[in-house]
Symmetry: none
Subunit: 324 residues, 3 copies
């Protein structure tokens, strides 16, 4: 579809959240279609996880985003979907790869939303494809368990914070979940959640560096719990780490299902977003260093540095491998 | 894309206007891409006309609409695009053709919006395709001239109208044209206008028959004049004709460019929409007859009857041809 | 226009904010049109104030809202607009008055946004109309000055608050001002701000009483300062008073214009919203009493009680006058 002014920031760059939402919609369509391809209980595919994805080049207003999706692996209860986004300038004809994302979906019964159904197996062209998919499946399963344990953290408000501290830029947003945010099962689309997460992360980043910013990458996102229509969700973001030219922001999604049920607030999703600051010519700008004050902030900064160095090393390894 | 609750009426049927908007977006993308395919002045394709289109089957919330578009003819300054819409129930896998529409676009220069550029010619597989296209081109050109003359009419409000009269159901809506309604050139997308027209026509139809209604077809729509960002548009609809099971509604779009220029209000678009009333099981219901009071109303009723009988005759001819 | 699922809460009642946004759009159109009716500098009417308005009856999904607007007074630099909203059930034909609102607009030059232009005078049918308008004009001018002084207050976050305290239900929302939120001048539409304010107030009310709630009335809202495109606005709400069956919520709008200019955060708008809780049958429910803890909370509770009793007395006087 054509990117509109509403999809973009003041500098004309399309929000990463808009792209994430389109990716998730494509993934939900293809996996729901696949899971219903054999006679049986009708179901809807629910997003369980998005693997780390890089935003390779910014998309601008007026460009057309082409989204294509393919099922690359199926386990007994989950589907792996590979989604590619190409942006096309229909005036010049120029095309660029914008995103490659991997998503995991789980089929939930339309009759009983707590029942996970079986996924019809796909055919692989080569045996290695199945083996590699299985490896990816096992890896993400492990990672999901790990993040679940990390999830107790809460963002406390800070009064009169100083410039460039964590408290200065941290932000939160509440959203009442309406009907168009939801699937047929009455639960929030993963893509809607990711769009709101990107919005909060973007505000944190802009508050910190006070310049034009764009999403550079999103770490793996795990959807631990479903969020029901009518819930109020609180999306909170705080900066965890800055390198010379990038900012890492941790985002939490907490759900309050207060209308229907007497249940407590719970953590539904959490993730790390990385942002860069761009000049008017689209060049990356230096970022003010994050000032850490408490022990927890220092620990999170070091953990963020670890993730940053790991990603950097991985990318260099890929470049070297490609050069061989 | 997946149809959401907001795209649909209370009974779950997707508004014809939502479909028309998707059709137009697909047409605008393919024709803008084509017109920029040769080096030259960059341009944006503006919608000039939509041929009569039938809504073959209603689309429901949760279904996926697949839109495909193809360029079928080019004249020196215009492009004919054929758009097909299929609705797909991703739970059952069932697919239905929903719409086949033909749209005409004209390339306007990005630098000078009043300059119409030349269209790169397409290749035809067979000579007959070109000849048939040329015939369609000449026909629509004639029809556009004709409608232009019919356009002086205004809808006056009626005080305390009686049930089932024209005055009882007539309705109008005003809309302030915002940035996301517009193309790169700062003019309203044809699809946005059609969506609003369908909304008004739907209110007229529902007021008349007080049941669940859906768009059955839209007559050819000509876009006489562009509408600029910041304009206020008034969309007015009145019922012109009823058969046993259908209602014809005439819709006008008038633009007030009051902020920027000292120009008078002008008629930008006009069209006829046909609606049917559906029972809960999706069967067509009888429609109360329209009561005509003035001479003009009687004349318009007769003209509407003419269009109705003509369409009916055409359809029967097609059925007979198909049966041979 | 027809009310859609996204305009409403889970119980099908349309959000007060949606109605306020429609009212403001109608007011902005009619006053911009009027201020441009004489040759001269083109201008856009900016919302300066909304008088107290009551929501007389809830509107439901599928109903049509008819909005009509009329200019009732002009001073040298401002326009008073009276807007009426009727909801119509198009299936039954039943109509109800939903709102009567009075809005004040000021014409700002399109070339120089800081220049307030002169308003063309309107003709009055009777001399008394002009005199009464002048009286209303003077009254609102006074009130605007008063509120300006009251505006330093900030909502501080509370950690681990108890049920039914002020801290328990207070909420805030951040919003990045995008292009479709803005007028031609690049400033946020008053209606967009009011819709967000109602959203926050609604969440505060729902958190407090955990039932289905609807907007009952909005106190006079003054728009002290414009908010520019690209700003981040923080909308915060806290409960100030509860009667047996109503809740009063104070809402602040603070703007951070951090992208373009090095200006400090400023208070742009503030207002009081009153909510009631409704049973499934649409009857008002008792509301848990607000627990006040600090001196400030107790003072605000008393002030709220004052406003509540004053409004109640006014309404009774009107009823008695009508009965005579």
């Amino acid at each position: 579809r054509i990117m509109r002014p509403d999809d973009a920031n003041v500098a004309g760059n399309v929000h990463g959240g808009t792209i994430l939402k389109m990716i998730e919609e494509a993934g939900a369509i293809i996996s729901t279609r696949h899971c219903n391809s054999q006679a049986g209980e009708p179901c809807v595919a629910a997003l369980a996880r998005v693997e780390r994805t890089d935003f390779l080049s910014p998309v601008c207003i007026g460009e057309v985003a082409n989204v294509s999706a393919e099922i690359t692996y199926t386990s007994r209860h989950s589907v792996e979907v590979q989604v590619n986004v190409m942006s096309e300038n229909i005036l010049t004809g120029a095309k660029k790869v914008t995103n490659k994302a991997t998503l995991w979906y789980v089929p939930l019964s339309l009759k009983n939303v707590n029942k996970v159904l079986e996924v019809p197996p796909i055919q692989y062209a080569r045996k290695e494809q199945e083996d590699e998919g299985k490896k990816r499946y096992e890896e993400q399963k492990l990672d999901r368990l790990e993040t679940k344990q990390r999830n107790g953290d809460v963002i406390f408000p800070v009064i009169n914070p100083e410039l460039h501290t964590v408290g200065y830029s941290q932000s939160s947003l509440i959203h009442l979940v309406g009907p168009s945010d939801c699937t047929l099962l009455g639960f929030v689309h993963g893509g809607v959640t990711m769009k709101l997460m990107d919005e909060v992360a973007g505000i944190v980043a802009a508050r910190h560096c006070k310049t034009n910013i764009v999403t550079a990458s999103v770490d793996a996102i795990n959807f631990h719990e479903k969020i029901k229509k009518g819930s109020v969700i609180t999306i909170s973001g705080r900066m965890t780490f800055t390198s010379n030219k990038s900012m890492e922001i941790e985002v939490f999604v907490d759900a309050d299902p207060f209308v229907d049920e007497p249940r407590e607030r719970y953590r539904a999703v959490s993730a790390f977003f990385t942002y860069v600051s761009l000049s008017k010519e689209g060049k990356p700008l230096p970022v003010p260093q994050l000032l850490t004050e408490t022990e927890d902030e220092k620990r999170r900064f070091d953990e963020g540095k670890g993730r940053y160095l790991q990603t950097k090393a991985k990318r260099q390894a890929q470049v070297q491998q490609a050069a061989r």
